[in-house]
């Protein structure tokens, strides 16, 4: 093979040049940072970005969360207390509590339009898992990627769903508050430990 068959660019410039290949895969999301809700996000990101990421994850959740005919079927996969009707799911705050009771008092400012979206796609009643948090943060926002809802399954695994597909992100902390991070790691990193040579040379580093 001496030459490329066709060239398609997913991120740069226009999509595809000449003689497009048939495939149409969308870019995969970066890992993102886990937040239970918008207020937790505000510790690291500005309020407006947090609200909009939370709202986007919620919308994604309502649109693409798996649906079940019965609560039992849903709970078999997602664990007891982690499922509800679209109305309950839309109202329940994303507290990440291990047993969020159906119909809990709405605490987080959940966006209203989500409810309509959920009902428009079905006729009768159905059940879906609760969104227990979301993946967002600065990297995803810079990359122009969609925040993704986060779920836990009956085996306590945490994973992100939404349009990017299912992606395992670790195990759910038993306290139900966060996705586990390795012991010994500091929660705030030091930075600027790389890059000084390029600054001194005042140059790029390619060759």
């Amino acid at each position: 093979m001496k030459r490329s068959r066709s060239i398609r660019l997913a991120l740069l410039g226009t999509v595809g040049l000449v003689g497009l290949a048939g495939c149409d895969d969308t870019p995969v999301a970066s890992e993102g940072q886990f937040f239970r809700d918008a207020s937790e996000c505000r510790k690291v990101l500005d309020a407006a970005s947090c609200e909009s990421q939370f709202a986007a994850a919620r919308q994604e959740h309502i649109k693409s969360a798996p649906r079940f005919a019965s609560k039992e079927q849903c709970e078999a996969q997602f664990g007891a207390g982690n499922c509800g009707t679209p109305e309950q799911v839309a109202q329940a705050p994303a507290t990440g509590a291990a047993t969020p009771a159906a119909g809990a008092t709405p605490a987080a400012p959940a966006p209203a339009p989500a409810q309509q979206t959920a009902q428009s796609s079905g006729g009768g009643s159905f059940f879906m898992p609760l969104m227990l948090g979301y993946l967002g943060g600065q990297m995803m926002s810079r990359m122009g990627q969609q925040p993704q809802p986060v779920y836990r399954d009956a085996q306590n695994n945490a994973y992100s769903g939404g349009s990017a597909g299912r992606r395992s992100i670790g195990s759910w902390n038993p306290a139900g508050r966060s996705v586990a991070t390795p012991a010994g790691a500091s929660s705030s990193s030091q930075r600027s430990g790389f890059g000084s040579t390029a600054t001194r040379m005042s140059s790029g580093s390619g060759s």
Binding site: K2, R3, S4, G137, M139, F194, G195, T197, S205, S207
Partner: protein, 371 residues
């Protein structure tokens, strides 16, 4: 008939617009076109076969050299620190995969091409070679062929890494060419199904256990367009080993991105038709010679001994000497053939011309085709 011929051309009136449409943001640098389609190079099919064969053979020799250096523990002549040597050894023994490299070849269309050097760690002009000249071929020389399967091979190579976590990409700030190169590579990784993101090299965090991105998420695989020897000298350098981050290019590329590899290769394969005589001392090379800093970039501080030299920031370090093999002189200057290897396979070429016989970062990229 020569295997390599320069043709003058009238550039497309809308070449700038076309370049920008495909995301080629650095087509003009310092007010001067870097992308130059007032000419192109025409190669014969035999010439392309010859370049491919030479490139594959050179790459195999380079891999053999790394093995030889690691087996003998011969790091002193490469001026590698103990720490660097440890990383080289560990990455070579683990069999860490590599992605990309570019041989710079001097060839006038006759006889065997000669390797001037190997940009094994941080090669640029990749996007131009893979995509921009391909777009040119499809509109200007439709029906002709081009020695260029770089794009397909990159996507294929990413797939073979077997990476299951996100891949972070990094380079310096405010440098359009480096950023364009990294974003292109990120594009190919994305198309291979990998989760990717970008951060500047100074934004990389260290949390005591591992490197982190701006969200405090672990960096498990890092593609860095930033020289290994710079990383290791800097504040976080000593954390690379303990962090167990997967680096692309891998640490063993430090053996090859260092021009001390030129005399080592000549020592391993003296008289090889694709190599030029090279030595650590001036007296080790007969006749006209070139002095090169072992860790220089973009032609900086290269000197054609007794004739002319290029300035730059690398004048203080160690040097090697290589027999002078002049680049061919055409009516557009001096062309050097950048021959790409992707995952150690010959994948295509990109030709740059410079006004002078030492190729600098002021060179122009000129497209090619073959029939």
């Amino acid at each position: 008939m020569t295997g390599l011929r320069r043709e003058r051309l009238v550039p497309r009136v809308d070449w700038r617009r076309r370049a920008e449409e495909i995301g080629f943001s650095f087509h003009t640098m310092g007010g001067v076109p870097y992308w130059d389609e007032t000419a192109c190079y025409a190669l014969t099919a035999e010439a392309v076969d010859g370049l491919e064969e030479a490139t594959n053979e050179l790459e195999q020799m380079c891999l053999a050299l790394v093995d030889r250096v690691v087996s003998a523990g011969d790091y002193a002549r490469l001026r590698l620190s103990d720490e660097a040597a440890g990383l080289v050894e560990a990455s070579w023994k683990r069999g860490d995969r590599n992605l990309v490299g570019r041989f710079d070849l001097s060839w006038d269309g006759e006889g065997p091409p000669k390797m001037l050097e190997y940009n094994a760690d941080t090669p640029t002009s990749l996007f131009e070679a893979a995509v921009v000249q391909w777009e040119w071929l499809e509109t200007v020389k439709k029906g002709s062929d081009q020695f260029n399967s770089i794009h397909d091979r990159l996507i294929e190579a990413w797939g073979k890494f077997g990476i299951r976590n996100a891949v972070h990409f990094t380079c310096v700030r405010d440098h359009a060419e480096d950023f364009g190169t990294v974003e292109y590579l990120r594009d190919t990784a994305t198309q291979a199904g990998l989760a990717t993101s970008f951060l500047h090299v100074d934004e990389i965090g260290w949390n005591g256990l591992g490197f982190t991105d701006l969200d405090e998420q672990p960096i498990r695989t890092l593609f860095k367009l930033y020289p290994w020897e710079w990383l290791l000298e800097e504040a976080f350098g000593r954390n690379i080993g303990p962090s167990r981050v997967q680096m692309i290019e891998p640490a063993w590329k430090m053996v090859l991105s260092n021009k001390a590899m030129l005399p080592l290769l000549w020592e391993m394969a003296p008289g090889h038709p694709y190599l030029l005589p090279a030595a650590f001392e001036a007296s080790g090379v007969e006749g006209p010679r070139v002095r090169k800093p072992i860790l220089g970039r973009e032609g900086a501080n290269v000197e054609i001994v007794g004739e002319q030299s290029a300035d730059g920031p690398y004048g203080e370090g160690d040097f090697v000497y290589q027999a002078l093999h002049r680049l061919p002189k055409t009516d557009g200057g001096y062309p050097v053939i950048g021959s790409w290897v992707i995952a150690s396979q010959s994948a295509g070429i990109g030709i740059r011309e410079d006004e002078g016989p030492i190729t600098r970062d002021t060179s122009r990229f000129v497209p090619h085709y073959f029939t």
